[in-house]
């Protein structure tokens, strides 16, 4: 048994299959950053930090006259989204119920996926992670709700990247507002905006619900790295007569190697 303690849960194999399946569907539906940045892992629950190659000076103190420095590492962040399921619903799975109420699993999957994406796109100084947008030195390209103008905005962002010697192909991550608008809009000539964006970028257009606005970023590789220790897993916390408390968990860190490799598209 590992730290997830699944074997201790009053959950049958059939119910675990339903829970894991629903969690996987929810996570893969909402996750965006994993479609766009370099992926390193999974390296296991024991993996604690990413090497940065940097050091910081420390006062030698008791070490006497020698010089001392401390390695700087980026610790992995543990993300955990808790949820509870009715034991009656889980028992219904064993009786063959095809419609168990697993909405709590879906909600937890969404929360966990958005947390990972928020760390990648926006970062969190509290955990020492700088996101793609915060790291970018480029001025944001202003966007509005006229989605027929998006190809022009994206072309401008691509030009900024090319001018900074950032090679393609490129991709765009769009927040819910922009993604919905882009997929529903036809240009004046009758051509879908979504297809026009793909041609400009030579790469994917990705829905990123954790994102405010949009980000155009290079897909050449090596610019951004998402390190996963424990990949998303469902674990067991506690149970009562009526419910089972579970959680979706991962450990992750994100490193920006090339701040210039992305341009933010921000609502004015």
């Amino acid at each position: 048994m590992n730290h997830l303690m699944r074997e201790l849960a009053p959950v049958s194999d059939a119910a675990w299959e339903q829970i894991d399946g629903e969690a996987t569907r929810s996570l893969t539906n909402y996750l965006a950053a994993r479609r766009l940045v370099d992926f390193d892992g999974p390296r296991g629950w024991e993996h604690s930090a990413v090497t940065t190659g940097r050091t910081e000076p420390v006062t030698a103190g008791a070490l006497g006259t020698v010089e001392a420095s401390r390695r700087r590492v980026l610790p992995l962040v543990e993300v955990r989204a808790s949820f509870a399921l009715s034991r009656a619903e889980l028992e219904a799975v064993d009786r063959g119920a095809a419609d168990p109420d697993l909405q709590a699993v879906i909600d937890a999957g969404r929360a966990a996926a958005l947390a990972e994406d928020f760390l990648v796109f926006h970062g969190d100084p509290g955990v020492g992670i700088t996101g793609i947008i915060a790291a970018s030195p480029h001025r944001a390209v202003p966007i509005a709700d006229d989605y027929a103008d998006y190809p022009a905005h994206v072309a401008k962002a691509v030009t900024v990247l090319r001018s900074a010697d950032i090679a393609g192909p490129y991709a765009i991550a769009l927040g819910t507002r922009g993604y919905t608008g882009v997929t529903e809009t036809i240009e004046h000539g009758g051509y879908p905006v979504l297809e026009h964006l793909r041609q400009l970028l030579d790469g994917p257009v990705v829905w990123a619900p954790a994102l405010e606005g949009a980000v155009v970023l290079s897909q050449r590789g090596g610019d951004y790295a998402l390190t996963i220790g424990q990949d998303f897993s469902v674990g067991y916390r506690a149970s009562s007569a009526d419910s089972v408390e579970l959680y979706i968990e991962e450990s992750a860190a994100f490193v920006v190697n090339t701040p210039e490799a992305a341009v933010h598209l921000a609502h004015g």
Partner: protein, 253 residues
Amino acid sequence: MMMADGTSSAGRVPTEGPTEGPTEGPTVDIYTEPDGEPDTLANLGPLTPMAGIWEGTGGADRHPEASGTGRDAFHERYELQPIDRQTNGPQLFYGLRYHTHIVKPGETETFHDQVGYWLWEPAAEEVTFTLGIPRGQVLLANGPAAADATEFELHATLGTEVYGILSNPFLQDNFRTVSYRIRVTIGDDGTWTYEEEGMLDIPGRDELFSHHDTNTLTRVGAPTPNPLATAAGSGADGSLGIGDLRQESRTRP
């Protein structure tokens, strides 16, 4: 099981199969591949206790020298990592890719280096072992082993078309390995031991020389689940196996 002609019966599934073929008589489906399981670590049969990273400091080697017989102690690091299931048509293997590195006590220079695969074929209840060394010699050995076996022995013989030994011209002329066997014993204490013997035909010697090595290995590291197990989420970490989604975004309409 071994057949009289030395071939394996594994996977020779008699079927009604294709009606047109190069020969008359019953047809055998040699093309259809079984699905197999994604998690190799859960399907290694008698090789299961050997997966991981191992060290042994009590190795003993007996080898030929000009004056007769030389003997050396050695330290060994033996890494065995699971690979994805493999097939030859209907024949299905689960296996470990290995690398063993050997030095004499207190020395850095490589004394012996060896790579290959340990393969378990459940349908035939056989273990197959490949050996390659950077001195111009390879071999393929095989032997029976039940899924729960804690001892098994494999053999290779010079000059046969299956499970044989191949050497470069110098070794063939001067240290000709005419047969090879390796015996594995899984210990109750979590260790495993190998004992291997190559029978060498050496010019000027009346009898074959027994080149012998043995060591007992203690685990120092866990194995890394094979790629399919990780992708299927059935790996040892218990995760959902979501992993990298970049390829999915590139193929998505």
